[in-house]
Amino acid sequence: MKTLLKVKSLKAKVGEKEILKGLNLEIKEGEVHVIMGPNGAGKSTLANVIFNNPQFQKTAGSVFFDGKDITNAKVDEIAKSGIFMSFQTPEEISGVSVFNFIKTAKGKIENKNINYFDFKEEMQKNAKALKMKGDLVNRELNVGFSGGEKKKNEILQMLELSPKLAILDETDSGLDVDAIKTVSKGIEMFKTEKNAVLIITHSCKILQALKVDFVHILVDGKIVYTGNASLAKEIEENGYEKFEAGKKNA
Amino acid sequence: MRLNNSPILTTRNYGINDAKVDDSVFCQEITPFENIIIENADSFFNKNAKKISFSKKIGGDFDLQLSQNNNAVLNFEIDKSQENPICISFKFDENNKMLVEQIVFNIKENVDAKLIVSLSGEVDAYHNGIVKINCEKNSKAEMLFITDFEKESVNVLRFENSVDEASKLKVSLVDFANGHSIINYYSKLNGDESKSILNCVYVAGGKTFVDLNFEQDVFGKKSEASIQTVGALLAEARKHFKGTINFEKGCKKSSGSEDELCLLLSKNAKSKALPMLLCTEEDVDGKHASSVGKVSEKELFYIMSRGFSRQDAIKLVVKAKFNIVLENLFDVKLKQKLIDLVDRKLNYEE
């Protein structure tokens, strides 16, 4: 199985505060990974740092994707290399329709002109499968969308852009029943032997509907433990205390 | 006489560029004012204080009078923090009707200061004054300034503040305006990461004319300027509001906001507003919002359905809006007193 993402000894800070303190992670084709951890452990930071969000500074370590060093790549180059991240709170961009936006993005990522009619048909099919309201794709990007609509829109983008690795940051809305359904359904539609998913969450609910290969526990900027799907269940019952304590002892 | 010029002019016939008042508003002859009570300021009070110079002009003869013919000069060098606020009360009465004063507060580095200035009385008062607050590096000053005249009076007031690096100035201006209230407020945000907040509430009835000219100049980086004004106009009161936030070149990552709410509690009340945002720096976040109108009927209906009379319902809504502006006032008891006073001022026949 081919390695897609390889994160090595990654350190990052926001302002003066170090948030990632030497994180290692490897994701191969066909795998579903989950990162869990208590609040403030650096879960949401990880996706943003991989994507070189200018709000964070990488201070050490490397990120390779599909054999290519993307540690210092530009945000759009990272997207073009085949990684997708869903946003907890996607930006509202007025005057740009969802349809036009995704079509433009797909054209950039696939580096070709997108056939209007084929694309429209496919997008409508996907939108329908996600139970999106009919007019949603014609509305302005995220403007006035409810939380659930924003979530669906992120998942729709994932389906249309068909990345090799989708990083789904669910720390915020992971508890909402509808959001869980949307994300599960989206992953089900998206997942193949050739791609991979990384879910970042603090709740186990989303994991019940999915076949998960690895669960990582992120505490204080590092992955302190990795296990299989049963680990999530243990977390649900006992919380993170054991891992936090374990870290201190170690 | 034309007073209180707007920093930026617009069409003359809008009547907002300046405040037109009758010449009789100015008082030539100034009698002494002795009824001044100063509390919690012993070690800060500078008895050798000299007259100060100021650059913000109100216009007419008021500026000359203030510099040459004043009857009170107070200077405070505040070099350490203390729990109790410095209180200065000017009590107006038959023997103390006219106040032409200069007050300076120099807040030294790293000092936390709380200040209260109040002007009150049951006479037809005449006031022409200036307050200067200089916040040195890393200092913090909170001021409450109250004017409350029971009879038709003249209140001409200037503020000229400077806010240095990492310092914070917050002024709550409470004006129970009666007669003429002409206020010019200026803050200069000199230093990086400086913060200047002006919260103003006013209630005006009768034929009172309120002219507010609030300006904040942002020079420092990562600084924050805010002007929040809430007022209620009764009877035939008129209000002019001129607000300016000026983002000067280089004030990167700074933010500024202006908010104005004017509640018209009478169909004969009149409101003019010119809230300006001037911007020569790209990397800033400037916002302005204003609204004018009467208290929402829906809101009133809801409150009245819970047993309030219409007038009490209106009072409740107005007090709630004032409460938001005065929310973080350092003295909770004082805030309650103010809100009670608002309640009293709002006793009127619809």
Partner: protein, 466 residues
């Protein structure tokens, strides 16, 4: 982050010059003699000359505004107020002289007329050279002609309305306008007639050191509706050109009028235009305004909501680039109960350009139960430009709702990151956001004009490390 440069609006497609070929060009300056001569050339009735002379008097009495952009470079002694092109008005493009026809061909006017307009007027310098309207509209009694012909052919109608919306003492430049006005369009839409396709008048100023002073008068009678489009452009010269046109609009009971403008004067133009509408009971007036050209622009369309339940909307965008000072906005006066106004204004400033939003909302005591909502956004594309917001409101009645929101700043970095995470380069992301910013205007325009506007905001952004 690398600095991004936004290219100037591509003016080249408008910047072709024809030779300054004219039948007659008035000597420069402004005097009674010149005013009389313009009137004589036009062979107009005495009452029109009287208005011109009165206006000249008013012009000399009024001062320059004490506010707004500096107009000191305007010297009327250097401006020719009347330039007659080498042709009369034609009703077929075939008859228009080749050189002038070529100009309008390049601007796409005959093609547009063929495809989606109900009528077209074209003015070249001081005179209208082409005017035409679809036969079907003529049969319904719609009048669409040049203003000189209207004075001649419909004197009663013109007399009844001319100067009644914009009086000649409004300000100095409207007085100037009435003294030397020439050209423009006249429209009358009879009761109940609803035009499905727009009418368009296009104004081209070719002659250097001259002024254009066209007068447009539109009456939309009871229950009728009209969409009128106005376009303007000029090639760039080194010396100042002046545009002081006037638009008077009468929207009668239950009628609706949409007035769209794409203004792209050259960057030596002082655009001191006056537009006003009187809106009667149950009527609706919509303004759509794109302001791209001019060196200085002072343009504040105004709606007077005179009748109960009347409504007005304003949607406008200004793009101030290098050397431009665009002082634009909107004015509304609420005079009757239950009136409403909605204002949405956007501006972009870059390369040292100055964009100012200046507005008036006045709600007078009679206008009970009225509402007004204003939003304005200023987008700064670099740190050498300027964006000011100067909104004035006057409220003289309690039973109203006025809300105003304004914002100024640069393109959000978070928004750029979001779009880049979907594969767009930084330049593409910014361009997409800027186009989205202008979208409220482009979506109000007919498709063909929206395309035109997007071309004007020709945002070929180029990255360079800086």
């Amino acid at each position: 982050m690398p600095k991004t440069k936004v290219k100037e609006i591509n003016q080249n497609i408008y910047d072709f010059k024809n030779q300054d070929n004219f039948d007659f060009k008035m000597k420069k300056g402004l005097s009674e003699e010149i005013v009389r001569e313009i009137s004589k050339k036009k062979v107009e009735p005495e009452w029109v000359l009287d208005i011109r002379l009165k206006a000249l008097e008013v012009y000399h009495k009024l001062d320059l505004p004490i506010w707004g952009p500096d107009l000191s470079e305007l010297n009327m002694d250097e401006i020719s107020t009347y330039v007659k092109p080498k042709t009369d008005k034609k009703e077929s493009w075939e008859d228009v002289p080749e050189e002038i026809k070529d100009t309008f061909d390049k601007l796409g006017i005959p093609k547009a007329e063929h495809e989606y307009l109900a009528g077209v007027g074209a003015q070249y310098d001081s005179e209208v050279v082409y005017h035409s309207i679809k036969n079907s509209l003529l049969k319904q009694g719609v009048i669409y002609t040049d203003f000189d012909s209207a004075i001649r052919d419909y004197p009663e109608l013109v007399k009844e309305y001319f100067t009644k919306c914009v009086p000649l003492f409004d300000h100095k430049f409207i007085a100037l306008h009435y003294a030397v006005f020439s050209g423009g369009s006249f429209v009358y839409v009879p009761k109940g007639v609803k035009l499905e396709m727009p009418l368009q008048s296009y104004f081209r100023l070719n002659s250097p050191e001259s002024g254009q002073f066209e007068h447009t008068l539109i009456i939309v009678d009871e229950g009728a509706s009209l969409h009128f489009i106005e376009g303007c452009s000029a090639p760039k010269y080194n010396k100042v050109n002046l545009h002081a046109g006037c638009v008077e609009l009468f929207v009668k009971e239950g009628a609706s009028l949409r007035y769209s403008t794409i203004e792209n004067w050259s960057k030596n133009m002082l655009n001191l235009n006056t537009k006003k509408a009187i809106v009667e009971k149950d009527a609706k007036m919509e303004w759509v305004s794109g302001s791209f050209g001019s060196k200085i622009s002072m343009l504040y369309p105004m709606s007077i909501l005179k009748g109960e339940n009347s409504k007005t909307e304003f949607t406008g965008i200004s793009f101030a680039g290098k050397g431009q000072n665009l002082d634009n906005g909107f004015k509304v006066v609420h005079l009757a109960p239950n009136t409403s106004s909605v204002v949405s204004s956007r501006s972009l400033s870059k390369s040292g350009g100055v964009a100012t939003y200046r507005s008036l909302v006045s709600i007078l005591p009679e206008a009970t139960n009225s509402r007004c909502s204003i939003t304005c956004d200023g987008l700064m594309l670099d740190d050498i430009s300027r964006s000011d917001t100067i909104p004035f409101s006057n409220v003289e009645v309690d039973d109203v709702e006025i809300s105003h929101e304004a914002k100024v700043g640069k393109i959000s970095e978070k928004a750029i990151f979001y779009l880049m995470s979907r594969g767009l380069s930084e330049e593409d992301a910014k361009a997409m956001i800027v186009r989205g910013f202008a979208n409220p205007i482009s979506k109000e325009l007919p498709l063909e004009y929206a395309v035109e506007m997007n071309r004007l905001i020709n945002l070929e952004l180029e990255g360079s490390i800086g």
